[in-house]
Amino acid sequence: MADLALSSPVVRQSRLLAALQRGGARLWVGAAVVALLVLVAVLAPVLAPHDALEQDLMSAQLPPSWIVGGDHAYLLGTDSLGRCVLSRLIYSARTAVMVALVAATLAALIGVALGLFAGSFGGWVDQAISRLIDVWMAFPPVLLSIVLAAVIGAGLTSVIAAIVVVDWTRFARVVRAETMVQLTRDYAAAARVIGLSRAKLLRLEILPNLVPLLATLLAVEMGIAILVEVILSFVGISVSGDTPTWGSMIAEGRQIVYQAPWIMALPIGCIITSVIGFNLLGDGLRLALDPVQRS
């Protein structure tokens, strides 16, 4: 009997490095943007030059400091109440990050659980969950969030709840389909033949195969959560009025957009950057984690 040796020394620096390489520029840029966002949120009290609520009516609607008429004390200018725009942007990141992380994670947990359930049981369980998803998705999501936030009342918790309640379907639907696909694979049959129960089969064999997909979905969902929070705070049913958010900054800046366009433009820039950041991270993660791309 011939011994079988590895044909060539498998060249591999570290798996982590290889994965980072596969992710490419998207992964790097996305991770950098998201990391920066989180850092800013965590360090807001240190980074912000002023108190976000401190009003200085004498210096209202100052333009950014490099423009004629700007004040060096206010790097990005002030709003109509004389509050520091930079500080408000920095403090707003806290709400955005909090909502993104918590809401997306909770939505993922619920969605994945129901998706696995539907995908593995099939039959009437699948029918029930799938029809529920269909009905759920038939509602315009933003409208549903607005109604929910209005019903539950304002506040961070209700914003998060509204996003979770609306967006679990995104995960459930994808996970259900992918679970069904994975269960037909030979390795799943092989795992069943070694006597694994359904729960163990899902946990040990199927779930690890869903990780690349989930990481991608989660990152994209975080971007979406930020957007929904912006919309809710724009219409004024997000967190309470004394907490700065990008959405409320846009709403305030909108009224004086002709006199002081930067007040509205800056939060919009922040939103676009962070959403693109999350999307790039999702894309990069997909490339980095996809087992098919590994070799």
Partner: protein, 291 residues
Amino acid sequence: MTATLEIDGLKVAIGAANVLRGVSLALQPREVRGLVGESGAGKSMLGRAVLGLLPANATIISGSITFEGRNLLAMHETERRKLLGRRIALIPQDPMTSLNPVKRVGVQIGNLLRHHLGVSKRVALARASELLAEVAIREPARVLSLYPHEISGGMRQRVLIAMAFACDPALVIADEPTTALDVTVQRQVLQLVERLRQRHGSAVLFVTHDLGVVAKICGSMTVLHGGRVLEDGETADVLARPRHAYTRALLAATPRADRPAEALRPVPPALIEQLWSEARRLDRLTIAGPT
């Protein structure tokens, strides 16, 4: 002595189509039986029925499958799961897709051992390493730390064979384990199955369409067509004096080193047609009931 596996009059239908039309066969302890037949003969279905892996739309119409004296079909699901992987194991058909792509080889073998033998993680890894050495894999410790896509198809098949025999099963169902491999690797795999079978004292049901494979390692054989057993006996007898016309036709269609290639004869279409009409007559009889 109780037979390891006894299948009696097994009838299975998928939707309205009958795939097994009353198959009976028995496997004694340590016996190696070849199950041969063309595509669609029902040989894989038979293996799946024993493993409880029939597709969801399949129904077992009648018959029984007895493993070491216990009826598998009447057994509760959890009871049956305890046998799978431990007393009844499978060597799957396609080594390329039968390992979980995102888990290291060592973790997969380790999980199997921990699931059935309840050993610790460390013991499981040590045992996994021994198992790989047993299937003649060099540097087993290193292979354990690799992902399936990092090792060759031949090596993956060896890993799967090692997993099948890991818990000293009484019965191993080998579902065309050589079909997806090239010819040189095939021989090694056959030797390996033979060696491990002897060492672990398992009976093997070897599903294949390759009569050469059957002649090499199976003591007995069953010829299946259209979900029925056409011929059954010691391999040497069947090959030397085939009784059924279909077996004779199969033999004439098998290339052999001592015969020129021109001597190969395809299985006559008339014979196939006749066999299928017999099978259909059997179906009608079943529906009408015994008279």
